[in-house]
């Protein structure tokens, strides 16, 4: 699958930082490395009654109970067929840091490159775009893509952008 060229203007601001590239099915995405805590082998998912349909359950890692959310469904239109790792990431809602576990289907890669910030036509979950080995890759805004407090949406976007720029 050939990704569409990034819809950004030549004057879009760029910032150099580290990103983790993750694979979800056929596509690769990026998340600022500052938001990634760990990449771990898939472990038991604990399920209990709740009414948050995007949360599958929680995983237990170093005593911390972390909700598991398959974002492939939203990005690719289908859930992952195989889960090779769980990527443990953090999202910021105002002053509060909140953890999330994301199943990924392949190895992750750490790169340092320039990010072109998203344009006004991009989806809210896109923080920017990377160009890496001839591939144009979406940088994900996890606080928008994964479930969280609705009224913190704008706050988390700005917090993540600040974090991405720092």
């Amino acid at each position: 699958m050939t990704p569409a060229p990034a819809p950004v203007s030549a004057t879009a601001p760029e910032s150099t930082q580290s990103f983790v590239l993750l694979r979800l099915g056929e596509r690769r995405f990026a998340v600022p490395a500052s938001q990634i805590a760990e990449l771990v082998a898939p472990s038991r998912v604990f399920r209990f009654p709740h009414k948050s349909p995007d949360v599958e359950g929680v995983v237990l890692r170093r005593g911390r109970m972390i909700p598991l959310c398959d974002i492939a469904d939203r990005l690719n239109g289908k859930k992952l067929a195989t889960r090779r790792f769980f990527l443990l990431a953090t999202r910021r809602f105002g002053a509060q840091l909140d953890w999330i576990a994301i199943p990924v289907s392949g190895e992750c890669e750490l790169i340092t490159t320039d990010m072109m910030e998203a344009g006004s036509n991009d989806s809210p979950h896109v923080a920017g775009w990377l160009s890496h080995r001839g591939e144009v890759i979406e940088v994900l805004r996890l606080a928008v893509l994964t479930p969280g407090p609705l009224d913190h949406g704008a706050l988390s976007q700005s917090a993540e952008l600040l974090e991405a720029r720092s």
Partner: protein, 177 residues
């Protein structure tokens, strides 16, 4: 600070909990919030039907002194498939009597983790948070989360209707005599 107060300050705060079962799922509740545990058979004769209850999880009430408690089916509350309940928890400082399948054990938790912000549904009212025991995750229920103020208002209306019906049956019985 002397040695013993230093040690006390650095001991993790623990809380005694009861692990209980509802439709195969394990939950925890602070033992301090359970006033009494009775078997279902034991309270069967004391429970009053609430035929006009619009709250599916509540079909009966029970008088405890001058208070009316509502018997909440925990399985229906959590959206689980109901199984025959065997025990009732009378919850302290609430108007809830909770129907459960059984008690697993009493134990101690040393850490309660607040529910992640990823959880944004009714569970925020259901649970105080999560705890991990023996490498298992267990939700810790909020005793006051079983009946909302709105549900209590509806149940009070259903209780009034049930009481009125009872009085009218008694009165008509008196006429027959």
């Amino acid at each position: 600070m002397n040695a013993s107060s230093y040690a006390n300050a650095h001991q993790p705060r623990t809380e005694q909990i009861i692990l209980f079962r509802v439709s195969g799922q394990i939950f925890a509740i602070s033992s301090a919030s359970v006033q009494e545990v009775r078997s279902v058979d034991n309270i069967a004769g004391m429970a009053q039907d609430l035929p006009e209850s619009t709250i599916r999880k509540v079909r009966h009430s029970i008088r405890r002194g001058d208070r009316t408690l509502y018997i909440v089916n925990a399985a229906l509350h959590f959206g689980l498939s109901p199984q025959p309940a065997s025990l009732v928890f009378f919850l302290r400082r609430t108007r809830t009597a909770l129907l459960i399948d059984g008690i697993e054990k009493m134990t101690t938790m040393s850490r309660l983790q607040a529910l992640s912000l990823a959880f944004q549904g009714d569970e925020r009212n259901w649970y105080r948070g999560l705890t991990s025991l023996d490498q298992t995750v267990i939700p810790v229920v909020k005793p006051e989360g079983f009946l909302s103020l709105e549900e209590l208002t509806l149940l009070e209306a259903a209780q009034l209707a049930a009481d009125t019906r009872l009085i009218s049956v008694d009165t008509s019985g008196a006429h027959v005599q």
